[in-house]
């Protein structure tokens, strides 16, 4: 159980990256959605003990993370948004080294886990090649392998699927789901699809604040019957924006599909629409803008 309370962080140049974030996250996959610059990575790094918040508290299973970062690091698996490696070091050697840094001193257990993870991430055939020579997808898989070393209670993956092809992405999702059965897994992404497929719980973060939080189904329920859509000519979009709470616009075969949130049908041109997670995301963002 990860408990985040009132987490705030302001950077020296005045950007307020986190603004009173409070979340309570249990075992399973937790999706953290948000546009670029929402503060996701700051939150991830703060959770990974790589930077300190100005105020607030974090506890993992009752342990104060900010007071004892090393204690958290012992139970942490972290896959940063983008990362490099020592050039020229083979995957197996590097993974073994990271396992040692994580405190796996028992050689037999360590070797078994390294081998298992290399198989699991489909890198076993490449274990003697330098990670620095890997393609983006392979490197990302190496990243998840190292995040799963040891016995993590909290796994943080920051934008993990960027740059992966669909097949790789699926395999990645399978692995995460499996891990998420026992462990807190926080998946930070700006891809709604990832969250929809994987996460029993989610939150939307923007401008350093949690806009909404819950199970995706509950959040969808809140929009049921209030979502409308119509196609519009190019010239019409601006006037529609002015008149209605437009959630999103999407090009469709030369015309624009406009989705609007309203308690009643805005006008005859609109038809009721089925809400999906993307609408949850956009409605949360637009509510934040309106506030």
């Amino acid at each position: 159980m990860l408990q985040i309370t009132g987490l705030s962080k302001t950077y020296p140049h005045g950007v307020r990256a986190l603004d009173g974030v409070s979340l309570s996250i249990g075992a399973g996959l937790f999706g953290l959605l948000g546009p670029n610059g929402a503060g996701k990575s700051t939150l991830m790094r703060t959770l990974a003990t790589l930077q300190e918040p100005d105020s607030g508290s974090i506890t993992l299973d009752g342990m104060d993370v900010l007071r004892d970062p090393t204690g958290l690091r012992r139970r942490l698996g972290y896959l940063p948004q983008e990362f490099g490696v020592y050039p020229g070091v083979p995957a197996e050697v590097l993974l073994d080294h990271l396992a040692l840094l994580k405190g796996l001193t028992n050689a037999a257990q360590r070797r078994a886990q390294v081998s298992d993870l290399l198989h699991r991430t489909n890198l076993h055939a490449h274990r003697r090649k330098a990670v620095s020579s890997f393609s983006g997808g392979m490197r990302q898989r190496f990243g998840i392998a190292q995040a799963l070393l040891g016995d993590p209670r909290l796994v943080i993956v920051d934008e993990p699927t960027a740059g992966l092809d669909p097949e790789e992405r699926n395999r990645f999702h399978d692995l995460l789901s499996e891990v998420g059965e026992t462990v807190v897994v926080i998946l930070s992404t700006h891809i709604v699809e990832d969250v929809r497929q994987l996460c029993p719980r989610m939150a939307v973060l923007s401008h350093g604040r949690v806009l909404c939080e819950g199970e995706p189904a509950r959040l969808l329920d809140a929009l049921r019957g209030r979502l409308w859509q119509r196609t519009a000519e190019r010239g019409e979009v601006d006037s529609l924006r002015a008149a209605h709470a437009v959630l999103s616009t999407q090009r469709q075969a030369g015309r624009t599909l406009v989705r609007v949130l309203a308690d009643a049908r805005p006008d005859a041109g609109f038809a009721p629409a089925e809400a999906d997670l993307e609408d949850v995301y956009f409605s949360a963002l637009s509510a934040a803008r309106a506030a």
């Binding site: 040692l100 840094l101 405190g103």
Partner: protein
């Protein structure tokens, strides 16, 4: 073709405009103009040479071309990177410009801009003397040609060289930072290389051999060594007018390095990929085969604190860091460079000594040769790799992953520190391999591990301390480049601490006394002090390590202030305890060291010591003229305790008033560091003791009448205690003690040796300049005895530890053991001069009894190489000198080896000659083509048994001519007897070189030989050539008669001779027409300029060849500060050879050799030889002081 050149011209012009528009260009130009003006304003150049003379101009331009490396770096980096930085890369690369045009156009533009900056500086050099105040006597006529010459010959090749390297790095890496680092490295490596290849010029200790000068002249990439090699004999007058000529080594140097530059550019052209650097990667192929391995994800529990120290992680991290460093290209490059430097230092540097001879490559010598450059190169390498390692995760963007692991920061810190420390260790061990390989190649069998391994302690430990500090600097620094600069700056401050007011090694990080190490003496006293300083600095370095650990960047590093304020937390309780322990250890060892250096021993800066000397002179000079008694008898019991480094003296002087006046006060003195001393006059009053100067004044209640006697008793107990910063008293050491009377026995009267010599320092302390105008007069036999002519009897008992032999002057009158000590009694059978010494070591002894004289060599058992040669030289010298000069006065002659840290080559005291290890005992005399240094030196020192210890002139100008010049003559005599007449020209060529170099560097006025004081270049260099000339002029028997008479009239007498006495004897022996020449050589400063002009040859019908040679001859005499030509009319040797004689040492067959009368500036001589001659030479036997001996040999034009 035309189109291509115009494209190139276009690129160059474009580049030039780009540079010329930049602020940096004007800033650089302004900076260099400023530097040039400053050089002129501060009077750069030697005294007496005009600030705008060709010599000073060339030197100044050479000097300015060094910082020009930085200007070039800026320009080259800008040139190579401009497109990439402005995002124009693709556009430019897609044009039709060829690779060569693109590259060289850019380079030429940068070079042109830098040359323009230097041209501005040259103009400033030319104009500045008219604008700023320059002393008028240092101002000559303005010649723009000098400046153009400097730009073309000195500056342009230097810019080309540095530019090619920096531009190459810029073009290949396309990184501005790499370019700047390359610039700094070119500069730093040049400085390192210069100190290494220039070692003869920079150190100035041993006279450089022509070979090492030539090597430096060719290898010095920026050329100053070549410039100095060519101009080293030039007098100020020549330096004012002569333009260095682009020939010989200077030409070779310029061609070599221009060639290297072009090769570098060609390589860059070859490597430069004319396309956008692709991020090529291997192994991208991803086998998409599905994993056959399935099953649940298994976690592995992390043991909670399995051990307090994460050994496994530390080991793994260390392995990765080491692998990174040792496998990198930069390290391979460093190693290549290192092997080159060490090889050069080992092969040509350390073991080439005076007269071009070599010493055996002992392991100690090899280790010293490796240790010097190791310190310098090690620091540069560590500064670089500390940055590489400290920023490694961040540079690879691996930091987030690494920093989120639970591993302690200590793992990262310690693994990186270990990898850093491995660098100097690798350097030391590689150096040791090079040294051992060289030892094997020389057939030297005494290779030892010890001295090589001590490098790890003496050199690598301080470097490891530097590594610890450099890691801290990198942890604090905002980026790695700033970190490199900071750590290098700190290293300079620490290593050159004296220049920054950090005198005491307690305030210079990793500072420690330099350790004199020799085969005989081991580390002497230094080892212990060094160890204490190392303990002190190591505890500080560990403290720095704790700080580094606490400040280690983890994650997105907070601002420095926040990290510093977080230190108490990040340090943790164990860390805080450890740091506190370090502080305690640091303070405790510091207090102990300080107590040793400043309380137990004397700590004194140079300035304080000079103040002390000045104060002594002011206090006691007034009493110097008071009459003092002479020491006429010495009895002493001396106990040496080598293992404890302690000695006790209990002695008595018999004093006699040999002046014509009453002695009221007796002034005794001891070296001031001898505090535990009792001195008393028998039956006299107690001494007034001035502890500051070690002076004891006895006010006699009853004055000593002329002829009266008295007794002075003294007891001292001197032990070496506590830590010192240097200036170790090495008198009594574990093995190889050398206790000189001067530094351990009381002296009487004023010690003029305490006086300051440097006129500037004297003026600063309100002392008048040392008086040079001492009146000099021949001895008047009728006058009173000279009180300084003290001949004394001597008897002593010396004891030492049971395993050692102790030696003192005199015949061995007894030897016994008592307890665990060994006693020797020595008695001198006849009065001797008042200097003597005691030695004690585990000696091996070899001896012969030769015509009633016991000749003994006491040597370190492993240094037996030259003992037989020494015995042969000593007996031959005794025979020759005994027959020619007069009988040898003693019944024994000893040659004793002492450790090589003593500052003399060899020292002759009555009946005993002391040789330091490496200037005789370790001379490698196996190559018979080398000069026989061992025989030369033995003969010289045995000669001093006549010149110095029988004929003992008073301390007046010209005294050294009687002592040293005549010893030089004595050595020539023995060498001739041993190896024949042909051995002498090679020896004399070195002596002449010494004179010519010495006079070129003379800061005041060159004295004539008969008034020589401290100028070794005169009494050794010129003296040797003059004696060779006198022998030729008067004939050997006549000269020997003169010297025999000098000995007869003055040996052991109360009327010591002066140089005028010798001149008078020479005059008496010489026919009148030769007296003028004798006066010119001895009483004036006359320099010859001889040269062999064109020589032709004609085959005679009846067989044989008629040679017609031209001899150019001139000589000048110094008159009122100017060289006045003298008419020339002398008989000189002219010789013809069948092959190049190369100093006559090797077999260049002499076809003809005879005196020819040379009159006027150009004389034709002709003679007939049987065989076709190849060369003719004038004065081939070096009988004249010739200002340029290199033109005395001439190839004969074709002989048909």
């Amino acid at each position: 073709m035309r189109a291509r050149t115009s494209v190139l011209r276009g690129i160059v012009a474009f580049e030039w405009r780009c540079h010329a528009r930049h602020l940096a260009f004007y800033a650089a130009a302004a900076g260099f103009v400023g530097m040039a003006v400053l050089l002129v304003a501060t009077g750069y150049g030697p005294d007496g040479v005009n600030v705008n003379s060709p010599y000073v101009v060339a030197q100044a331009m050479g000097l300015l071309s060094l910082p020009a490396v930085f200007v070039l770096t800026v320009f080259c980096a800008a040139s190579a990177l401009r497109d990439a930085e402005s995002g124009m890369t693709e556009i430019v690369y897609a044009t039709s410009v060829s690779r060569a045009q693109y590259l060289f156009g850019r380079f030429a533009g940068a070079l042109l801009a830098a040359l323009a900056v230097l041209a501005a500086a040259a103009i400033a050099l030319m104009v500045a003397p008219m604008l700023v105040r320059v002393s008028p006597e240092r101002l000559g006529a303005v010649h723009p040609a000098y400046y153009l010459w400097g730009l073309a010959v000195v500056v342009l090749p230097n810019l080309l060289f540095a530019g090619s390297l920096v531009f190459g790095v810029s073009a290949l890496t396309r990184s501005a930072r790499a370019s700047y680092v390359a610039g700094v490295f070119v500069y730093a490596l040049y400085l390192v290389a210069a100190t290494l290849i220039d070692s003869p010029l920079m150190a100035g200790s041993a006279p450089p051999s022509p070979g090492s000068l030539a090597r430096a002249a060719v290898l010095d990439p920026f050329g100053p060594s070549a410039f100095f090699e060519q101009t080293r004999y030039w007098t100020p007058a020549e330096r004012n007018v002569r333009l260095p000529s682009l020939s010989g080594h200077f030409l070779l140097n310029r061609m070599l390095w221009t060639g290297v530059s072009l090769a570098v550019l060609a390589l860059v052209h070859h490597l430069f990929a004319f396309r956008i650097a692709a991020r090529s990667r291997s192994g991208r192929a991803d086998t998409a085969a599905p994993s056959k391995h399935v099953g649940g994800y298994q976690t592995v529990a992390v043991p909670f604190r399995s051990s307090p120290v994460p050994w496994h992680a530390l080991l793994s991290a260390t392995r990765l860091e080491l692998r990174y460093v040792l496998r990198s290209w930069s390290f391979a490059g460093l190693m290549a460079l290192w092997i080159f430097f060490v090889g050069m230092e080992v092969v040509t540097g350390v073991n080439t000594l005076e007269y071009g001879t070599r010493v055996y490559p002992t392991t100690g010598l090899m280790a010293a040769a490796i240790g010097g450059p190791l310190g310098m190169i090690g620091i540069v390498a560590l500064a670089y790799y500390a940055a590489e390692l400290a920023w490694r995760e961040r540079a690879a963007r691996f930091d987030d992953v690494i920093d989120a692991t639970p591993a302690s920061s200590a793992v990262f810190h310690l693994s990186k520190l270990t990898a850093l420390c491995a660098i100097p260790v690798a350097l030391a061990l590689t150096g040791a391999c090079v040294g051992a390989a060289y030892q094997l190649s020389r057939g030297y069998e005494g290779i030892e591990m010890g001295p090589y391994l001590t490098l790890l302690y003496v050199e690598c430990l301080p470097l490891a301390l530097f590594a610890a500090a450099a890691l801290l600097v990198q942890t604090l620094s905002p980026n790695r480049y700033a970190g490199i600069v900071f750590s290098l700056a700190a290293a300079v401050v620490v290593r050159r601490g004296e220049a920054f007011g950090l005198n005491h090694a307690l305030v210079r990080y990793a500072g420690a006394p330099a350790l004199p190490r020799t085969d005989m003496g081991g580390w002497g006293q230094g080892g212990e002090s060094f160890a204490w300083f190392m303990a002190y600095w190591t505890s500080f370095a560990v403290l720095l390590g704790f700080l580094t650990f606490a400040l280690w960047r983890r994650g997105r590093a907070a601002p420095l202030i926040a990290r510093i304020s977080a230190v108490p937390r990040t340090l943790g309780r164990r860390g805080a305890l450890g740091a506190a322990a370090c502080v305690a250890l640091f303070l405790a060892t510091g207090a102990f060291v300080f107590h040793g250096t400043n309380v137990v021993n004397r700590y004194e800066t140079d300035a304080a010591r000079m103040d002390w000397k000045a104060a002594y002179e002011k206090a006691y000079r007034p009493f110097a003229a008071e009459p003092q008694p002479s020491i006429v008898g010495i009895r002493a019991n001396v106990d040496l305790y080598p293992a404890e480094r302690r000695y006790r003296i209990d002695g008595t002087y018999r004093l006699e008033n040999r002046t014509g006046r009453e002695v009221r006060d007796v002034w005794g003195s001891l070296p001031r560091d001898i505090q535990d001393a009792r001195i008393e006059m028998a039956g006299g009053p107690p001494a007034e003791h001035d502890a500051r100067f070690g002076v004891y004044r006895f006010r006699l209640s009853r004055p000593m009448a002329p002829g009266g006697t008295a007794e002075l008793r003294f007891r001292t107990d001197v032990a070496q205690r506590g830590v010192r910063t240097g200036d170790f008293d090495l008198s009594v050491v574990e093995n190889g003690s050398f206790l000189a009377s001067r530094s351990s026995f009381p002296a009487l009267g004023y010690r003029s040796s305490y006086e300051l010599d440097d006129p500037a320092q004297r003026r600063k302390r309100g002392l008048a300049g040392p008086s040079t105008e001492t009146a000099l007069a021949a001895t008047e036999p009728a006058g009173g005895a000279d009180p300084s002519a003290a001949w004394t009897s001597f008897e002593t008992t010396v004891s030492t530890s049971a395993d050692q032999v102790a030696v003192a002057p005199g015949a061995l009158a007894g030897e016994w053991r008592r307890g665990r000590r060994r006693y020797f009694r020595y008695v001198m059978d006849r009065p001797m001069t008042g200097q003597f010494a005691y030695v004690s070591a585990r000696y091996a002894v070899k001896q012969v009894r030769h015509r009633g004289v016991l000749v003994q060599v006491y040597y370190h058992p492993t240094h037996a190489y030259n003992v037989n040669r020494m015995l042969a030289a000593a007996t031959r010298s005794l025979d020759l000198f005994g027959a020619r000069f007069g009988p040898y006065p003693h019944r024994e002659l000893r040659i004793v080896e002492v450790p090589s840290y003593w500052g003399f080559g060899a020292l002759a005291l009555p009946g005993t000659v002391y040789f330091v290890e490496d200037r005789g005992f370790l001379t490698d005399a196996r190559d018979s083509a080398d000069l026989d240094l061992v025989t030369r030196r033995v003969a010289h020192e045995v000669g001093h048994q006549w010149w110095g210890h029988q004929v003992d002139p008073t301390d007046q100008p010209g005294a050294s001519m009687l002592v040293e010049t005549l010893a030089k003559y004595s050595e020539q005599m023995v060498l001739k007897e041993t190896h024949g007449e042909r051995a002498l020209p090679a020896l004399l060529a070195f002596d002449l070189d010494r004179y010519l170099r010495g006079r070129a560097g003379e800061e005041s006025v060159e004295a004539p030989l008969y008034r020589v004081t401290g100028e070794a270049y005169l009494y050794y260099g010129k003296g040797a050539v003059v004696m060779s000339g006198l022998r030729d002029l008067l004939g050997e028997p006549a000269l020997d008669r003169v010297l025999a008479r000098l000995v007869r009239e003055h040996a052991g007498s109360d009327h010591p001779p002066t140089s005028l006495d010798l001149i008078a004897l020479l005059h008496a022996q010489a026919p009148p027409e030769q007296r003028a020449l004798i006066d010119q050589w001895l009483r004036e400063v006359v320099v010859y300029d001889l040269a062999a002009g064109p020589a032709t040859c004609r085959r005679l019908p009846g067989g044989g060849f008629r040679v017609t040679a031209t001899v150019d001859a001139g000589k000048t005499m110094r008159r009122g500060g100017r060289d006045v030509p003298l008419p020339f009319d002398e008989a000189l040797d002219v010789a013809a050879f069948a092959a190049n004689p190369r100093g006559l040492a090797s077999a260049g067959r002499i076809l003809y050799s005879a005196k020819q009368q040379i009159r006027g500036p150009r004389t034709q001589v002709s003679f007939t030889v049987a065989q076709a001659p190849a060369y003719v030479a004038v004065d081939p036997y070096v009988h004249r002081v010739d200002r340029d001996p290199s033109d005395n040999l001439r190839k004969v034009e074709d002989c048909r």
